[in-house]
Amino acid sequence: MTNQIQGLSFLFPEAILVFFAIGCCLWGVFTNRSALIGTYALLGVAMSALSLPASFGAGKNLFFGMLTNDPFSAFFRQVILIVAGLAIMISLDYKDLDRADLGEYYFFLLTIAVSLMLAASANNLLMIYISLESISLVSYIMAGYSKRDIFSSEAGMKYFLFGAVSTGMTLYGISLIYGLLGTLSLPAIVGQCSTIMSEPAAGLALLLILVGFGFKCSLVPFHMWTPDVYQGAPTPMAALFSVGSKTVGFAFLLRVFVLTFGKNFESWPLLASMLAIVTMTLGNLTALEQTNLKRLLAYSTIAQAGYIFLGLAIATPMGIKAFLFYLFVYALMNMGAFGAVIIINNSLKSEQLEDYSGFYRRDPLTAVTFAILLLSLAGLPPLAGFLAKFFIIAAAVEAKLTVLAGIVVINSVVAVYYYVRIIKFMFLHEPSGQAAPPGPCRLHLHLVLVITAAANLILGLWPHAILGWITNLLRMG
């Protein structure tokens, strides 16, 4: 029983989030319009974050091994809370939400956050499936959140159909694993899996599992939903999908494929690195000709997922380190970038690239911070994005996979084109048409941008803290 009580203390941050989510829901029942609901939700995330360190003291295996309290879970939960906080902040000033049911909106948002956090600690395939589904179900709704918007509905629909099939495949894979081993607990599987890996069914099962996870991370060929959903969904949600869901997807991949099956799954490095390469290349190439910003960012996230996944594919300590660092930095970069898209959409009512012309003249702060974020995404020094890519390349080189490193760098050159093209429109072009007055000051959004841009700059030059954290974490994990 002590185990379970300890477990409750572990779940304290999640509990706070649930509490605030229900609060949001109730508040929304009474008044729907209050912008304070968002602030309230933000408060919930903040309190949850404050309570997070205390939860690390709980034991390692919780709830009959359904959850684990390992360093990775700690890492992912922190990332998720940061992302959730940023998502709420960019939602606060999202104009298209002005007439929506805010109570509902923040309820769902916090629910996703809770599911993400649970997923981060899931240590049993059953738990993984449940958390995966609970993230997905809420996400489908959120993607189709703008009820009167056909684009949003279509996005929701596509997300749902694609997701349901993918998770169905994963489920089938899990059932096969259960059939092969008779257990779903990951630590138990570690001990046994060496016996089954020669069976074709094991490979089939793992591959089917990979479908669902790859769907979350939008790895090629499980990525097809990504651009459509990001484009149609409300922008803060797209941001959350692109970062939160991906974080969890990668957490699953790390836990299942690297930590659990890793050593016995001989095809993994080859399979994963092929997938990573295809992912980054396809993402980058397809992004080149995009004109809708959200769609462009969607393809960019696909490419970024490829880089991140390469860290897992290499799966050396250096690879894992690079993977974690990249994921962290990616969360910051991408949230900021989507924030910038929201600001610009607020003032221009457009997400088309050509309408970004001369945006620098209208709102220099946004333009400059957005440019920093884009350059960081492109991986140019001295920004954090560079360091992240640097580690990935370093991991590849260290593992004597110099060819992979070469592919990564060439990809990053291709990527620069479309990132810089956005910058080109914002800075090099003159504003077209009549100069619309800049929208009202959107404090939160600017704050998000400044924070993420500054973080990218600082992490690029002084990554000590994060690096130390990750190194420490790897030593413990």
Binding site: G203, L207, L271, E289
Partner: protein
């Protein structure tokens, strides 16, 4: 004894800067700054000469740079050759500058002209003082620059600008050879110093190649065949410039260079042979062209080429002192001739000799000095040209019959065309209504002084003064002793000179025709060939210049189309690939699922295949 030799070029150099920077304020006074600077140089040169006679010699000044671990010193060489050159250059330069005061009087860029002249003087003096090939090369290019600037001095004239370009480029071809020669010499011997040349030992072929490459520099500078084409065009510059640079001093630098490196050539008979043959070709070719040309300056220009060729020939047949002797006398009488021509042009405002005539009576001083110059170059004793030319003929006589005949023929032609020039310009009746006037005193004074030199400078090397000049040159220099001219050679030389003058007289004064009908009809092709300078310019244009320019345009097009095309092509290819790949995203969700399923199937196939077949 104070060494002052290194200060000689300094003053003209300072004068250059003063004139170029303060030109606007100085205006007329800039001429006197340049003249005074040259005068100081002249005085210093004389004192250097005295010092040399008193036993002073070369001395180093410092290190310029390190070259393959060897310091390249810049130092001053003081030997008979240098002393002679110093005196010639300073005297002629000073006189010509004085002349220019009058000649360039009305020019708006008066001070710039004198600045360039001073810079030239400085470079030329530096050239003759340089004690190693590298320093020589530096000043060598310096005089080339001044030549360029002064040829293109009247920049509004497109022809002048073109001529400047041509001069610089043509000489640069030779200079590049010289540079390579310097490299090669250094590679072979490890030294560039002139004093080390005599003990130069290295691979035979390298030394030979070096000597030939060095000679190519001389060919360019001294306008020898095949790089002679620039000199006639260079006559676009002011005539005083032509006198100083393109007659007396700079073009002689090539001869000076060969003389300076004479030991190197002398050690390889083949090289000497080449020098002699090239000189002979140039001499005869230029002399033949000069015989038909109608531009007073061009005639003199070809005459210069011819005379320089003769000097080369002299050096080539081993006549070290003969060549240099002719260099000195030529400097005086050719400068004189050019200045006279300048004076005439100044008076009649045309350069076409067919429009002149009878000027002797209206321009007394110019006329008399012109006659003296003509007789000197034609080799009429006892004027200076006779003695020096005689030396060369004497050297060639005997061992080199072909060269000797060439030289003799050149002498004949020289006498002929100079007489033709003189007769057409000065005598006979005026053939057009040209206003003429005698030139101002600043222009006449140098003429008188130079004609004095033209009259008597040759005596220094005559038997009457026991070949003092030759002995002076051989002083401290271990060169092979040379033949003294025999009576036979002398007689022959006088004979061809008089023959040439006589022929010209009979054609142009007695028959008063430019060319008798019969001859013209019979030798029409020859005449056209000569009038067109053997079509060498046209051949160069067609064989080198135009194909090269075409090559340049072609390479530019290649650059744009091929190289940049590949770069842009790759970029476009990548972008187009993106454009195609995005079409995969059809918008139909079931297509997406299909792609996903196919992807999974492919992976399964490979994985299963790998498991089953262990590939």
């Amino acid at each position: 004894m104070v060494n002052v030799a290194h200060l000689i070029p300094l003053f003209p150099f300072l004068a250059f800067w003063v004139n170029i920077l303060l030109g606007k304020t100085l205006h007329r006074a800039s001429a006197w700054i340049s003249i005074i600077a040259s005068l100081i140089s002249m005085v210093l040169s004389i004192s250097t000469a005295q010092g040399f006679l008193a036993g002073a010699g070369s001395y180093p000044l410092g290190t310029w740079l390190t070259f393959f671990g060897q310091p390249i010193a810049f130092g001053v060489i003081v030997d008979p050759l240098t002393v002679m050159m110093l005196l010639v250059v300073t005297v002629v330069a000073t006189l010509i500058m004085i002349y220019s005061v009058g000649y360039m009087g009305g020019d708006p860029h008066f001070s710039r002209y004198f600045a360039y002249m001073s810079l030239f003087t400085a470079s030329m003096l530096g050239l003759v003082l340089a004690d190693n090939l590298l320093m020589l090369y530096i000043f060598w290019e310096g005089v080339g620059l001044c030549s360029y600037l002064l040829i293109a001095f009247w920049f509004e004239r497109p022809a002048a600008a073109r001529a400047g370009l041509k001069a610089f480029l043509t000489t640069r071809i030779g200079d590049t050879g010289l540079l390579l020669g310097i490299f090669l010499l250094f590679a072979a011997t490890g030294s560039l110093s002139f004093t080390d040349l005599s003990k130069a030992n290295g691979p035979e072929w390298m030394l030979m190649a070096a000597a030939l490459l060095i000679f190519s520099g001389a060919v360019g500078k001294s306008a020898q065949f095949p790089l002679h084409v620039w000199l006639p065009d260079a006559m676009e510059g002011p005539t005083a410039v032509s006198a100083l640079i393109h007659a007396a001093t700079m073009v002689a630098a090539g001869v000076y260079l060969v003389a300076r490196c004479f030991v190197l050539f002398a050690a390889h008979p083949v090289c000497l042979e080449v020098v002699a043959v090239m000189g002979g070709i140039s001499a005869l070719m230029a002399a033949s062209i000069a015989s038909v040309n109608n531009d007073i300056k061009k005639v003199l220009a070809y005459s210069t080429i011819s005379q320089l060729g003769l000097m080369m020939l002299g050096l080539g047949v081993g006549g070290y002192s003969a060549g240099t002797f002719h260099l000195m006398t030529h400097a005086f009488f050719k400068a004189l001739l050019f200045l006279c021509a300048g004076s005439i042009i100044h008076g009649v405002h045309t350069q076409d000799i067919r429009l002149m005539g009878g000027l002797f009576y209206r321009m007394k001083t110019t006329g008399i000095t012109f006659v003296i110059g003509t007789l000197a170059i034609a080799g009429v004793p006892p004027l200076s040209g006779f003695w020096s030319k005689d030396e060369i003929l004497a050297q060639a006589f005997g061992p080199h019959p072909v060269l000797f005949i060439t030289a003799l023929l050149t002498s004949f032609l020289t006498a002929f065309y100079m007489a033709r020039l003189m007769l057409l310009v000065l005598f006979g009746k005026s053939r057009s209504e040209l206003q003429t006037h005698e030139s101002p005193v600043t222009m006449r004074f140098p003429l008188v002084v130079l004609s004095f030199f033209a009259l008597f400078a040759g005596l220094l090397g005559s038997p009457w003064m026991h070949h003092a000049f030759q002995k002076f040159l051989a002083f401290q220099v271990p060169y092979p002793s040379e033949e003294a001219p025999s009576k036979f050679v002398m007689g022959l030389s006088i004979g061809v000179s008089l023959l040439g003058i006589g022929l010209a007289y009979s054609i142009y004064i007695l028959h008063r025709r430019f060319l008798p009908e019969g001859i013209r009809a019979q030798f029409g092709w020859l005449y056209r060939l000569l009038m067109n300078k053997y079509y060498i310019d046209e051949i160069y244009e067609a064989v080198f210049v135009q194909p090269f320019l075409r090559l340049c345009r072609l390479s530019f097009r290649f650059d744009m189309a091929a190289i940049d095309g590949v770069v842009n092509g790759i970029a476009n290819l990548v972008r187009r690939a993106g454009g195609i790949l995005r079409r995969l995203q059809s918008g139909f969700v079931q297509n997406y699922l299909l792609i996903q399923t196919i992807g999974v199937l492919i992976v399964i196939m490979t994985l299963l295949g790998k498991l089953c077949f262990q590939f």
